[in-house]
Amino acid sequence: MKKKLKNIQESGFKVPKTYFENFEASILSQANLKEKASEAGFTVPEGYFDEVEKSILSKTNKKEPTKVISLLNKRNIIYISSIAAAILLLFNLSLFNNTFNFDSLETEAVDDFVLNNFELNDFNILFSNTELSESAFIDYNLSDETLDYYLETIDETDFILD
């Protein structure tokens, strides 16, 4: 059987068991407290709020430009310098290591150099004696081996005057 509206006496809502007691106690407690101390007692320096606003805005309004990352910062300069120094050091070290060794120099290279770069007359300066003495030829004894080598290697065409 449907209940007619006028017959419904109760709303059907319920509350937690001790709700009203707790509610009252709570309100009273708060009222008591507020009576004793409604404020915390904290104070602020005079003019603080104006000052702090300026301070905050000065910290945030520093125009943040589109970040231009300079390549010439300290770190990069140190990197580049050290690489340059290393390269220089490498070159210097390799130069110092070039102790010139005559053994490694080929005779052919010397021949070519002399033939290409010097005239026969250039060697005149090497002769300290302006006159040749006979004794210079007599006293000096060529070994047979040397003579043989000379005779074998001479080119007859060298004796033809140009």
Binding site: G41, P45, V52, I56, L57
Partner: protein
């Protein structure tokens, strides 16, 4: 009446950001100050936290998704920053957070920016006996009259839980004040 959507859009646009932020600071600096002050107690620490909070807001405004009110977001940042400074102080003093807080309360008496009487000082001591979150709930409701609905959004806790926490806090404090 603050048009929140408009303000947020202005904050996110480079041309209007500066002016919009100035407005935001002007609008919320006092409320945020007191919220922080009740947590950290000293004016100097509050000043640090307040400025850090606004700087963080400025730098992270683009990350704000608008899934809560902007002031809830700012209050949340402020709360976290305040708790951070308490943790930092405790670490520096090599004590626990509770001990650091007790110390902060003990020096309140000699603090030039505390003009409370004996009862108000005792109230601070009473609040310090509560768990940290409960302290924040108490301070927000009792001193700042923040609605439970707003508190729920800021602290990301249900209204029911907050109400219960607050009533328990009030009872504890009353007991503390009536003893001795």
């Amino acid at each position: 009446m603050l048009n929140e959507t408009l303000l947020i859009n202005q904050l996110k646009s480079n041309q209007t950001k500066e002016q919009a932020f100035k407005e935001l600071v002007s609008l919320y600096k006092e409320r945020l100050y007191w919220h922080i002050r009740h947590i950290v107690k000293s004016h100097e620490d509050t000043d640090d936290v307040l400025q850090n909070t606004f700087i963080k807001v400025f730098r992270n405004i683009d990350n704000f998704k608008g899934d809560s009110k902007i002031y809830s977001w700012m209050y949340r940042i402020a709360t976290n920053e305040a708790i951070s400074i308490i943790n930092k102080n405790a670490k520096r003093l090599q004590t626990t957070n509770e001990e650091a807080q007790d110390l902060a309360i003990n020096i309140l008496q000699s603090d030039v920016y505390f003009e409370g009487d004996e009862i108000q000082l005792k109230l601070q001591k009473a609040i310090a006996t509560l768990p940290q979150k409960q302290q924040i709930v108490f301070n927000m409701r009792y001193f700042q009259d923040i609605k439970y609905k707003d508190m729920a959004e800021i602290l990301e806790t249900s209204e029911g839980a907050l109400k219960a926490s607050y009533h328990i806090a009030v009872k504890k404090i009353e007991d503390y004040l009536t003893q001795d």
